[in-house]
Symmetry: C2
Subunit: 247 residues, 2 copies
Amino acid sequence: MAGSAAGIQPAAIVFDTFGTVVDWRSSLIRELTEFGAARGIAAAHGIGIDWAGLVDAWRAAYHPSMDRVRRGELPWTRLDDLHRASLDRLVTEFGIKGLTEADLVHINLGWHRLTPWPDSVPGLTRLKRRFIIGPLSNGNVSLLTNMAKHAGLPWDMVFGSDLFGHYKPDPETYLGVARLLDLPPGRVMMAAAHNGDLAAARRAGLLTAFFPRPGEYGPHQSRDFAADTAWDVVARDIEDLATQLGA
Amino acid sequence: MAGSAAGIQPAAIVFDTFGTVVDWRSSLIRELTEFGAARGIAAAHGIGIDWAGLVDAWRAAYHPSMDRVRRGELPWTRLDDLHRASLDRLVTEFGIKGLTEADLVHINLGWHRLTPWPDSVPGLTRLKRRFIIGPLSNGNVSLLTNMAKHAGLPWDMVFGSDLFGHYKPDPETYLGVARLLDLPPGRVMMAAAHNGDLAAARRAGLLTAFFPRPGEYGPHQSRDFAADTAWDVVARDIEDLATQLGA
């Protein structure tokens, strides 16, 4: 499915982040398992906690929580705060005992400490030589900035959802990047492992690049194994995207 | 005047840009002189154009044009557009003939192509290892992002005035950085070669760092040769700031 994209020359490429650039699921399961063991955190009934189940449930709450903001049921709320509200609910549902407020703050900031996929840093480093690169994520600026410091992501500019007061797939996000970079939408490329994100970016007039992350949801992955339409570039990963764009 | 600042530990350091990080005057005079010669641009009366005088007049229009926005006489207007309006006026005043619209666009974007002071890139590269770094400038995001690509400024995040809809020294700019980074103002340091910028940052609760750029205005420099009060750090330049902060 990889090919050449020699004729396509964006000025800027913005990347979805969770799942596309960083492996949120493995990162959070590993960190929480180690944290729970080191701190002796237990479930109410004294047996082991299903940290993988908690991480999957936490992520499952992601889109519904943002949709409440997108529909206007909640005022603008940063993703850090949506994550925290979901975490508080899940700690009760999973019967987890012994977490202090400092523990909950630390766990919630796990989204700032996610690990990149192996091709992310080398691929982005190559693309940065020829293009303006940044995340365009539903994360807030502080989350994305801390993540970049932790993971070594060499962004030129960080486009957090709090810059726009909108979550993807609202068009204000994609068009907001073009506005801030003073570029026509057609000179900005959205790169993502999620077909739905790209569909919204294309409706807003952006170029599109897809590469799959078939392990993003672990055994629960149910979609986005391949491009579901003819995106402007279809690549294997970020390194292949760099190759196809001549970077 | 340099000292040690071992006890001061910001989480983020934001830099004034024009004059503090880049040498706008020499950069623009050099570029315009070369452009004018290459293109055979002349004054109306056929003799040489005073490009240095035009650059100094262009910069002299900077604060008055922003003040019109700050006082509400103009709606929010990006610095690129304020620069262009001033340039159009000055081209007439200096009697310059033969510039096309493309030439004017190119000249105006000279503010995106400024050259850093010699210590800027090495000093920022050191500081980036320990701190979140970014510009906090009256430039717009596109100007600052293009400048960083051109000059190799290794910012983590670009705080353009268009993110806030305010120009410095409005407190919304300094406090906007703290809000976007989710930090108390006292964990953010403003670094500038201009005492007035630091006074406003301190009023907003930020830490402050001064270093002089005595050549910023060439022969017309009239102030900011030294710190005019006890800023949290007073350094020789950005490399010395890195040394004093242990980076």
